[in-house]
Symmetry: D2
Subunit: 379 residues, 4 copies
Amino acid sequence: MKKIKYGMIGGGIGAFIGDAHRRAARLCNDFELVGGVFDVDYERSKEFALQEDIALGRCYESVDLLIEKELQLAEDQRMKVVTIVTPNTLHFPFAKKLLNSGFHVICEKPMTITVEEAVELESLVIEKQLTFALTHTYTGYPMVRQMRDLISEGHIGIVQRVDAQYYQGWVNNIIHSSENRIGKFWKLDSRQTGISGCLGDIGVHAFNLAEYVTGKQVKEVLSDLNTLKEEIELDVDGTVLLRFGDNLKGVIRASQVCAGEENNLSIGVYGSKGSLTWSQENPNFLTLKTLTEPIRIYKPAHTYNGDFAERSHTMKAGHPEGYYEALANIYVGVRKSIKGEEINAGEYPTVHDGVRGMKFIHAVVNSHKTGNSWISINQ
Amino acid sequence: MKKIKYGMIGGGIGAFIGDAHRRAARLCNDFELVGGVFDVDYERSKEFALQEDIALGRCYESVDLLIEKELQLAEDQRMKVVTIVTPNTLHFPFAKKLLNSGFHVICEKPMTITVEEAVELESLVIEKQLTFALTHTYTGYPMVRQMRDLISEGHIGIVQRVDAQYYQGWVNNIIHSSENRIGKFWKLDSRQTGISGCLGDIGVHAFNLAEYVTGKQVKEVLSDLNTLKEEIELDVDGTVLLRFGDNLKGVIRASQVCAGEENNLSIGVYGSKGSLTWSQENPNFLTLKTLTEPIRIYKPAHTYNGDFAERSHTMKAGHPEGYYEALANIYVGVRKSIKGEEINAGEYPTVHDGVRGMKFIHAVVNSHKTGNSWISINQ
Amino acid sequence: MKKIKYGMIGGGIGAFIGDAHRRAARLCNDFELVGGVFDVDYERSKEFALQEDIALGRCYESVDLLIEKELQLAEDQRMKVVTIVTPNTLHFPFAKKLLNSGFHVICEKPMTITVEEAVELESLVIEKQLTFALTHTYTGYPMVRQMRDLISEGHIGIVQRVDAQYYQGWVNNIIHSSENRIGKFWKLDSRQTGISGCLGDIGVHAFNLAEYVTGKQVKEVLSDLNTLKEEIELDVDGTVLLRFGDNLKGVIRASQVCAGEENNLSIGVYGSKGSLTWSQENPNFLTLKTLTEPIRIYKPAHTYNGDFAERSHTMKAGHPEGYYEALANIYVGVRKSIKGEEINAGEYPTVHDGVRGMKFIHAVVNSHKTGNSWISINQ
Amino acid sequence: MKKIKYGMIGGGIGAFIGDAHRRAARLCNDFELVGGVFDVDYERSKEFALQEDIALGRCYESVDLLIEKELQLAEDQRMKVVTIVTPNTLHFPFAKKLLNSGFHVICEKPMTITVEEAVELESLVIEKQLTFALTHTYTGYPMVRQMRDLISEGHIGIVQRVDAQYYQGWVNNIIHSSENRIGKFWKLDSRQTGISGCLGDIGVHAFNLAEYVTGKQVKEVLSDLNTLKEEIELDVDGTVLLRFGDNLKGVIRASQVCAGEENNLSIGVYGSKGSLTWSQENPNFLTLKTLTEPIRIYKPAHTYNGDFAERSHTMKAGHPEGYYEALANIYVGVRKSIKGEEINAGEYPTVHDGVRGMKFIHAVVNSHKTGNSWISINQ
């Protein structure tokens, strides 16, 4: 099977998330990294290419050059898809250019800075009929997919409550450091990050997961955010009340000031017959509680799971998989989409998820600014 | 040591919580049940007395008779304290009578139906200089007390977020049953229960626990409650945003429609240096996460705990204690208070906690009714 | 219901296990402590009686006097059962005297020092048709009883392996202390403790639990014990291979030198269709793994449990019970036996369990001394 | 950085462990698969090569041809290392040929069938000064490496007990199936598997792990194995008593008939000051209990860990890694060894570990056959 040739924007020397994407692409073995713009500093970009055994001729000085030169290559030599792992503000312009030139795109989250940009990308993807994947990686975990299936098949009855939590603690090291690092940190600076800090960074993952597993859309949000200190511009913590309609309510709790928490993304969906809970730091266990039966713990690699979950775990039972494997599952979805293979709903997060996310972030900030009022997520 | 003679209002044959109180009283061995009004049905009340080896002469037809007759007894024979485990609406009138007649009172929660009643009881307790304990039992767990101590001693730094959750699932059996049981169930009937269902029943425990472990008072709440169906009068689920002032925020999540959840009261307090989490169904484990050290799990019966926690566990290390022992610890606090022994702050929940609770419940309902606005908890 | 009058030998001021027995007896409310010999020092014994509100006239100077005087009382005033919580070497002589005089007996473990004594007690109990309970308390936990029921009902198929572990760590404080405390510590002194240290103290609990939950008897053992240091007389650690016959094998691991372990009694029973595991420090959770279904966690207070487990938990679902409640369940069994009520097999550990235990201990020591050979447990 | 070219013997279409090796090799990105003998059936082997984009010219009909042809290639084109993932009986002859021809080898476990073969390979590796890695993959987990470091640095004091457990349940599906599959299954057939079933398959992993984390060597073993049924030739379950000398004892428990267990490899090392436990199915958590402090849970990606553990986890804190990442860490060790980079002791399992393993397996079987006697592991 021929591997899909892909490029990367960003992700050069020392980059954390770019490395994760490359590992995931190698894990699933469907992709081959052939070039990119790995760093704004061209010298460092080339250094990276050398280190990774990538032909220097395809290590470009800019995205424009990348597009121009790649389009000159024979179609079977050309990059088919480009992964964008740049700072947030560059996601939109690069994605737009690439889509306009016919490249499929894999984009890190947040998809854009504004809702308008998100909607524009959405139109473009539809128009161009290209694959666009947004790496809400957590939807790649087998047990998340099993959770989605169990809910859609009615195993917990009517969904009555949704709780999603995403707690981290690392911001404490910035905001409470003796040298005042607040002003210098890009994630707390709206010009580099957009209108939200914590909610935009991780709250949106929780939101995405909540809609993913329930198969339902949030209609309105009411938020109370926290910047903790006056000199902090963006939220570092917040709570968001959710209304899905039909008497389904819920809450998203997100924080980056919970000292000692690492990457505690957890979700609970509570129904009339049962409840499901899952936690990212122990991703191979999914808990189902019901009114009448002993608690059930689902694990990957069992025939009791649905097909989607089963195809998302490659190891034998009892051999744990983790974050890279989840991301690799997203890449598998992209491959299927690009190759026109049969694909499961939810096999990779789409541009529509990206639009939902941007609307969520803006509604959350809007709610907080307007005295914690209810804001429709479709505004 | 002479045991304190106590009486009981309610708690007769088949009563769940009355039985728990008696077990707790026996466990700590500081109390002796000498009489009471165990049932509105006097025959059943006497049947209970017989069964429990209680002198029939002290099994009274009414609270008024109990007061009258007990006061005629010599002081060392007389009940010193009376436990009230009646339906909610009777807590206030009985407590008031008993206090007015000089009896100490142990009262099940909710303390009263209205804030005004609560405030009246508070004045009465102060005026009469009597002991009044409200059984927010969960504050009796050793590891809850250790959590309180660790926070007050600064182990987690500045408190930045508080999350309390209380999830149960049993209401599903009532609201989704084929025979419509909604109208017949007292906990969903405002005339028997007061203005709130779930939040008044269990949300208030979460609120009490949040104030207990942090040592801080909630200033304002904003709530969104859920009755799920139109024909349900009272909330069966809800979320309450909290503001403590000084940039400390939090949230209480309470639900009785989380099918499969049993008695999942859990609390997390998140600070600038560390975070503490505790969960009632595994009460002998307290988790401390910090920015720089491995996760720590505290357990009872260790010298690394504070005195208060240590005195609250009587077994050796590794021998689990549970709910009855927690309630027994509340009774120990009452004994100390009645006997004038030295007592720890927080050794039993007081009438002031009861006032706080009633204010919380009313503010929560008020917020929900006024379009989810912020309501001061001191209104 | 009239409470059963009971006396206590040992268990006076500062005694740990005597206190636990009294709490358990009060918890179940079937017993009333009316007298005893609480201490070898009569003054301290009387001090204890005063403190506990026990009539001084029934605080006796010796067991002989207790027997003599109690027998002079009217039958309905007399102690019916006596709890023995003395040092190990006194269990046998006191139990024998009491049984011979017609008293039922509740005895702490180990039942005796020698197998011969154990067999003698067994004959006496049969002859006198009295109730004799040995407090292998761990069989009182509801989830242990549920485990027994699930196995006997075939839920795990053919039992193929049994593993029981009992780990503690406190002996390190004695054997590694700077002041040499080894020679001074009674549990390491054969004259006070018998022929085994750790295996006799806690290994026998694991053995009892293994036979209890499987309903099968160990036929042969092969042990390797460890005294760690030459100057230590008795085992502080050991492993015992088990053969039950019919190709069922297993192992008991017991240690008191596992620093940091508290009271880690855990058992796993592995079958052809499923496996069950339970751990004492989280006693309200029982795990069933099977070949084809998600893992199941059983908890008390559910209709999915058998009757025996259900009657052994008094609180509502989600309200944890612990060690005292387990011991109270043993006392309930004793009450039923004494009163001639219908009783479940396994409702309290009997004198036959005591004989099994003594045979186990002696076979284990014998195996170790004879170069780790197989020793029949019926020798 | 140039990738190391590697080949593979076995691991073709449908092969489980070959796929795992390739994923691990890709994950760490230090290796490039250039050819091999993927299947005994040459057609299927070529089909696999096509599917994996491997040049057909390097898909060989036999190992002999592979060696011959590869040696004809320029040194920088030639395979440097060959991974052997064939049935057990072929490990030795292929490894020997490859080593003799100057190839480094990565070999699946068990290394050989006999001790003599193992010793022969060991001599050969020493003589040829080649890298030979045996994939005891579990030593690649970061928290296993941290456990090793904590023990060697004295964090648990004197090691006093070692317990290793490896439980699986899949053999039940073979031995209890209605169609008698016992005789047809290669893992239960000595001609294909060697002298041991379960102990040779997984017990040896537990043994390797025990020696790895303690840094100590087992001196003697005494085993009791179980074949469950007469018609089963090889052990499917067993327990092995261990003596390390210096009063350190322990036990290995291994079984493949624990229905419902998946890949439950767990280890506990118990010392005079503390105890460490780790479990493969939750590999990112390492528990340290001590006599005086709260329980500690270590996780990867923290400065509190040693360098070795830290270099073995590539993701940020709270992002779980799993089995493939552990195997990738072994491949990283191989790369370092081949390239002559500085390498940690224990960075990959060596031919010496393989010799230890074979001696263990033979001693275990020998002990069982000689009436459960002690057998020196160096015999």
